[in-house]
């Protein structure tokens, strides 16, 4: 696979270039289509009767006004943000401690812990939702956003530990040894030496925990029972009537949910690829 020589255009190179051009177009259309269709519908004045037109004929922000004003979608955005932030803070803290344990210490049971963290990611939420629903119900925590955040730890934590383990291991031990020799206490070493060095990894992991909580559907569907507590994933359903769907507002709300995820995701993606191939979780 040597690089094409740009100076001479042989028929063969021309054919390759055309094939690549077609491939690029096919890929871009196929992968960007849902995001494009969502955004273009959200600003389309005729969304309710939208036909096969690929470009909105009349631009409007009315659907966003409907969603944020009349329909009170802002409340759901706030709820989701709250749940996600609480999940991120708790899981990052706990995961960092655990990651240090498995990345820096050799101890009996270390492999068992790693295997457990991997297995934890495979347990289907459908199996956990039944007992956790019954438990939350008997504790009176069904409609609680905090309760939901705590439940989300079950999915964000194993992933965060798996991911951070790599970031901690990447910090050279010599840095810590030098600090130890200089007489730094263990806690000081943790916060002043290790923490800043792992910070980029921590940011990346936090973003993924945030997205997990932000996107989560099945527990939100089961746990949240009144409108004022809905997260975005559940709140969307309010725009569906008995037999009709109001596609303009639905796509406007979907856009509001999706844009922050895309921005976060694309921003930290590079850091994650290596870890993901080692077996973590789909975004």
């Amino acid at each position: 696979m040597s690089r094409p020589d740009a100076t001479r255009l042989t028929p063969r190179k021309l054919a390759t270039a055309i094939a690549q051009g077609v491939g690029v177009i096919v890929c871009v259309v196929f992968f960007l289509f849902p995001a494009y269709w969502m955004i273009s519908t959200s600003v389309d004045a005729d969304a309710a009767t939208r036909g096969a037109e690929l470009i909105p004929s009349e631009f409007t922000l009315a659907h966003f006004h409907t969603v944020l004003g009349r329909a009170g979608f802002g409340r759901y955005l706030l709820n989701s943000a709250l749940v996600a932030v609480v999940t991120v803070v708790i899981s990052s803290l706990i995961a960092l401690l655990a990651a240090v344990a498995v990345a820096r210490f050799k101890f009996r049971g270390r492999t068992a812990i790693l295997v457990m963290v991997l297995i934890a990611q495979m347990i289907p939420q459908e199996a956990l939702v039944i007992p956790l629903f019954l438990q939350a119900r008997s504790l009176g925590m069904l409609n609680s956003l905090l309760g939901l955040s705590i439940v989300y730890l079950a999915f964000s934590l194993p992933f965060a530990v798996w991911m951070l383990r790599g970031f901690v291991a990447a910090v050279p031990v010599e840095v810590e040894e030098a600090a130890y020799v200089d007489g730094a206490s263990w806690g000081r070493m943790f916060w002043s030496i290790l923490f800043p060095l792992v910070a980029p990894g921590l940011v990346a992991t936090s973003v993924f925990s945030f997205i997990t909580a932000w996107n989560e559907f099945i527990f939100a569907l089961t746990f949240l029972q009144n409108d004022s507590k809905y997260t975005v994933a559940i709140g969307l359903q309010r725009f569906f009537g008995q037999n009709t769907a109001d596609w303009g507002p639905i796509m406007a709300a979907s856009t509001l949910i999706t844009i922050p995820v895309i921005i976060f995701f694309v921003a930290v993606q590079r850091n994650m690829v290596s870890g993901l191939s080692a077996g973590a979780v789909k975004g």
Binding site: M1, A127, I218, V266, A278
Partner: protein, 328 residues
Amino acid sequence: MASPHTEQGTPATPGAPAGVPASRGRRFSSRRAALRRRPWLLLAPMLIVLAILLVWPLGRVIWLSFQNYGLRELNRGTTNFVGFDNYAAIFGDEYLYSVVLPNTIGLAVACVVLTVGLGTLVALFLKGLPTFWRYVVSTALMIAWAVPAVTGTYVWVFVFDPSNGLATNLLGSLGVIEPGTVNWFLERWSFYSIVTLNVVQHSIPFVAVTVLAGLLTVPDDLYEAAKIDGAGAWQRFWNVTAPNLRPVFAVVTILSTIWDFKVFTQMWLMPGGGGTNPQVFNLSVWAYVQSFAQSEYGMGSAIAVVLTLVLMAITLVYLRTLFKEDEL
């Protein structure tokens, strides 16, 4: 925290101040004991959380699967053990074999084959692209990957909307169908075609990016050598790429299998998938509907346990692969 070294008996001394060694022996052994406890102290919060949120619920769902646990038991807080009755009911039900298993397995097989196949194709394509265009396509991949399952599903529901969806109108204007007369969500095959399209579109990026990362580690000389030996593109793929990427393929295939076996959100949000059309249930949706729509928590738990066991079996294969490749 020079732990691994200290424990292995090679303390980091080079720059240590003189005069310490006198008391070293005793301090060292007490440090050792502290060091032995330290990893467990650090792990404790995680272990507690996972015990409460994973291990205990998993135990409870198994416990529930042996009970006839409905609204009555829920409200009175009583138990009603029925042994393996729930499992007997599931495995004795024709519905499992004619609807749920074909749906579950069919979807998983179709999605895994398409995701891994097309994902590999995209990865090979990306590798050959000039840097700028590779950047363009991989950004498109990232965006597709980032779109949440919930909103992505709504887009496809809109596209195939029977009254004014894009697909309906396009085919209508071509005269293939009469708009308003065709509802793809009602029929099993077309319903699952839409689910497959949705899931595959969303999962290809992970496979493509992972396989590309693997492809970039294969040394170019291997391809050069194969070329000199007269191997065509197809032969180079099977004789050079495939063997070198075996572990990567194993991981993406098994992870895709696990994810595609338990598709829930994409199904639930489609018309009829949310419990009204039993012809389109898979194991996940069936377990959920039994529990939360029928209030038969025992039965729902048993289905959930069956699903979990299937996923565990796949996970074991996954772990064996990981261990073989010495990734832990």
